[in-house]
C-alpha cells in the first residue's frame, strides 16, 4: 500500500510507556492529525516517524520500505518543531537553504529555491533578515519553508501553531491546509486542539491517556460516530448518559427509556452502555411534554453568547446540555420546567 505504515509500535522510556499498540496506515497525499490530550504519546509517535526516536518494538514502513532504524538525516522528511528550532546564527535565507547546502546544491540553485519558498509562504524579500527580527507568525512561515526546501517525502508538524495568538493561529491553519492541498504532500500534524484538527485534516487519529489509538477517521466520522466514550468526550462537547441495554433498540437511563437506531456489536440485553448525544441535536421545548425520547426537567442555566444559546437541563440525576441558534431559541428561562427531545438517530450507543 502506498503511504506510511506503523506496525504494532511500542515505545517505552525506562519504566514509562509513551506509546503502545499503534497500528496505522496513513495514505499518500493526505493531511493527518494526531489528536490527544497532553501525555498521550502523540509527539513521541511523530518523533518515531521522523527517526528522532527508535521504537522499543514494531516497525515503520514508508512505501513498503522498512525505515524503522534509518537515521533521521537519511529520511528526507521535513519537520517543524514546536519551538520552531530556527538556527539563530543564520539569516532567513540561510535557514531555508540549510538542507540544500548540506546536499551540496549550487549557490544559484539555493537562491532560486529560497526565493520560490519565500513566495510560497508569502514572505518575499525576507531572505537577508535575521531570525531575531521576525514576528512569531513570520518565524512560523520560515520554519515551514525550511522544512519544505528539499520537497520532503513526509511533512511533519509538532504543534507548530500553539505559540501563536488565537486569531493568527486560525489564519495559519487555513493557510497551512491550502498549502498542503496545493503541494499534495503527505502531512502529519500533532495537536491537542480538536478545533484545529477538525479544520485542517483529512483524517484524525485520536489518542488517549492510555497511550493508544482510540479511533482513526475523517473529522465528521469521528464527530458523528465516536468509537468510545473517551472520543465522544474529547471531541467537541457531548452529553454522555449511562444506561443499561433493554430489549430491542431500547436503553434504560435513570428509570426512563430511550429509543436508539443502532446498537454496536456485542451489546445484548443487560449490557451497561453509554449514550452520546451532541448538544446541537437536542431540542428543548417549554413545559412538560410526553413522547418518544422526551426527557422532562428543569432549566438550570441558560448561556446565551449571541451566536448560539446553550440550555442546561436538570433531569433528576443527570444534566443535559442542548445547543440551539438564536432563531430557534425556546422560550424558557432559568427555573422553568422544560422537556428535552433526543432524536433516536442522534443517540450514539457506546460500550460503557
Amino acid at each position: 500500500m502506498a503511504g506510511l505504515d506503523l506496525k504494532d509500535i511500542h515505545k517505552r522510556f525506562g519504566p514509562v510507556t509513551a506509546v503502545q499498540n499503534v497500528d496505522l496506515h496513513i495514505p499518500h497525499g493526505r493531511f493527518v492529525c494526531f489528536l490527544g490530550p497532553s501525555g498521550c504519546g502523540k509527539t513521541t509517535l511523530l518523533r518515531l516517524i521522523a527517526g528522532l526516536e527508535q521504537p522499543t518494538a514494531g516497525r515503520v514502513l514508508l512505501e513498503d520500505q522498512d525505515i524503522t532504524f534509518q537515521p533521521a538525516h537519511q529520511r528526507n522528511f521535513g519537520m517543524v518543531f514546536q519551538s520552531l528550532a530556527l538556527f539563530p546564527h543564520l539569516t532567513v535565507g540561510e535557514n531555508i537553504a540549510y538542507s540544500l547546502r548540506i546536499r551540496k546544491k549550487s549557490a544559484a540553485d539555493c537562491r532560486r529555491r529560497v526565493e520560490a519558498l519565500l513566495d510560497l509562504v508569502r514572505l518575499p524579500g525576507y531572505a537577508g533578515r535575521a531570525v531575531a527580527q521576525l514576528s512569531g507568525g513570520q518565524r512560523q512561515r520560515v520554519a515551514i519553508a525550511r522544512a519544505l526546501a528539499i520537497e520532503p517525502r513526509l511533512f511533519l508538524l509538532d504543534e507548530p501553531l500553539s505559540a501563536l495568538d488565537a486569531k493568527l493561529r486560525e489564519d495559519m491553519q487555513l493557510e497551512l491546509r491550502m498549502l498542503q492541498q496545493r503541494l499534495g504532500i503527505t502531512t502529519i500534524l500533532v495537536t491537542h486542539d480538536q478545533r484545529e484538527a477538525m479544520t485542517m485534516s483529512d483524517l484524525i487519529v485520536v489518542m488517549g491517556t492510555d497511550n493508544q489509538v482510540h479511533q482513526m477517521g475523517s473529522p465528521l466520522e469521528i464527530y458523528r460516530h465516536p468509537a468510545d466514550t473517551f472520543v465522544a468526550d474529547f471531541i467537541g462537547t457531548s452529553n454522555l448518559l449511562k444506561g443499561v441495554c433493554g430489549g430491542g433498540r431500547q436503553v434504560a437511563v435513570s428509570g426512563r427509556t430511550l429509543n436508539v437506531e443502532t446498537l454496536p456489536a456485542g451489546v445484548t440485553t443487560g449490557t451497561e452502555v453509554s449514550i452520546s448525544v451532541r448538544p446541537e441535536d437536542i431540542s428543548v421545548v417549554a413545559g412538560v411534554r410526553e413522547g418518544e425520547n422526551h426527557l422532562q426537567g428543569r432549566v438550570a442555566f441558560v448561556r446565551d453568547v449571541g451566536s448560539s444559546v446553550e440550555i442546561y437541563l436538570d433531569c433528576n440525576g443527570f444534566q443535559i446540555v442542548s445547543q440551539s441558534t438564536p432563531k430557534s431559541r425556546p422560550a424558557v428561562r432559568q427555573g422553568d420546567a422544560a422537556t428535552a427531545v433526543l432524536p433516536p438517530s442522534a443517540c450514539v450507543v457506546l460500550g460503557a
Partner: protein, 286 residues
C-alpha cells in the same frame, strides 16, 4: 531588561558599591603601576619620582620581543587546545542526565581546589624519567627505556591546559546547557549527519560563546608564572616570569611596571581583534 537609564543619586546607589570596589582594588593599583612605569630606578634602592620613558625604550630588545611572542603563543595555543577539547566535552556533559552532569561538574570544580604549585609538581613527577608515565609505557612494552619529558614545551602545555580546562568547561557550560535540543534535531531532519550537525549548528550557533571562552582562557593563562618555571626550560619562560624576576629579584619596579603595562596593552589589542573577528560574520550576534 532595563527599560530606562537610572536617574538621580538614589537610583545609582546599588552600583556605587561595586564601582567603589573596582576603583579601590583595580583602578588605583593600576594607576600606581602606570605611574611607576615612568619613574627612574635607583640602583640598590627603590625608585625616584622622576619622569622618564627609558623603561619603555628599554623594552625594545630581542629578548623581550622573543619572550612576549612566546607568552602570547603559548597562551593562545593552550586556549585553542582547551576550547577544542572542552567544547565537545561540555556538549556531551550537557546531554547527560542531571545526576551524571553533577558528578562531572563536581570533579572539575575539585580540580580548581588544587594550587598551581601542586599541579606543576605533580606533572613534573608524572613526566619525569624516574617515576613518570614513561616507566608505565616501558612496562607495557611500548617503549624501550624510560625518558624524561619534563621540563619541556609539552610538559608546560600539559600543566597550563590542566589548570585552564575546568575554567573552560565552567564558562562553556551555561550557553551549552541553554542550547535548544531541537536545534540539532532540526538539523538532522534537514539531512545533516551528527558530525555535520555538531559543526554547522552547535558550534555555529554558539560562536560568540566560543570566542568569549577563547579570550577568557587566553587571558587566564597569560598570567601564569609558576608553571613555566617548573615545567618549562628557560626558553619557555613567559613574560610573567620575566616580570616577577625583574620586580622581585632585581628590585627594578619601574622596568617591571613598564613591561606589565606594555604586555597588557598588547593582550588587550589582541582580545579586541579577536572580538572584531568573531563579530564580523553572522547576523544574530547579540
Amino acid at each position: 531588561m532595563i527599560a530606562a537609564k537610572p536617574k538621580g543619586l538614589a537610583a545609582h546607589l546599588p552600583i556605587l558599591y561595586p564601582a567603589a570596589t573596582l576603583a579601590v582594588f583595580f583602578v588605583i593599583p593600576f594607576g600606581i603601576m602606570l605611574a611607576v612605569s615612568f619613574f627612574q630606578r635607583e640602583p640598590g634602592g627603590f625608585y625616584t619620582t622622576e619622569f622618564s620613558i627609558d623603561n619603555y625604550a628599554n623594552l625594545f630588545t630581542a629578548l623581550f620581543g622573543r619572550v612576549l611572542a612566546f607568552s602570547i603563543f603559548i597562551s593562545a595555543f593552550c586556549a585553542a587546545l582547551c576550547v577544542a577539547a572542552g567544547f565537545p566535552f561540555t556538549y556531551f556533559v550537557t546531554r547527560m542526565r542531571r545526576r551524571a552532569q553533577v558528578v562531572w561538574l563536581v570533579v572539575l570544580v575539585s580540580v580548581l581546589s588544587l594550587s598551581a604549585v601542586i599541579v606543576a609538581f605533580a606533572w613534573s613527577i608524572m613526566l619525569s624519567q624516574t617515576a613518570g608515565v614513561s616507566n608505565l609505557l616501558v612496562w607495557l612494552g611500548l617503549m624501550d627505556q624510560a625518558v624524561s619529558w619534563s621540563p619541556g614545551f609539552w610538559a608546560l602545555t600539559c600543566g597550563m591546559c590542566y589548570i585552564a580546562f575546568p575554567y573552560t568547561v565552567l564558562v562553556l557550560y551555561p550557553p551549552l546547557s541553554r542550547l535548544d535540543p531541537h536545534l540539532p534535531e532540526a538539523a538532522q531532519t534537514l539531512g545533516a549527519s551528527p558530525v555535520k550537525t555538531f559543526f554547522t549548528v552547535v558550534v555555529g550557533s554558539l560562536r560568540s560563546a566560543i570566542v568569549a571562552t577563547l579570550i577568557m582562557v587566553f587571558a587566564f593563562t597569560l598570567g601564569t608564572y609558576l608553571i613555566p618555571q617548573i615545567l618549562g626550560r628557560p626558553q619557555h619562560w613567559t613574560l610573567s616570569v620575566l616580570i616577577t624576576d625583574e620586580a622581585i629579584y632585581r628590585s627594578n619596579l619601574p622596568f617591571a611596571a613598564a613591561m606589565s603595562v606594555f604586555f597588557m596593552a598588547v593582550s588587550l589589542a589582541l582580545v579586541g581583534l579577536t572580538m572584531l573577528a568573531g563579530k564580523g560574520r553572522g547576523p544574530a550576534e547579540r
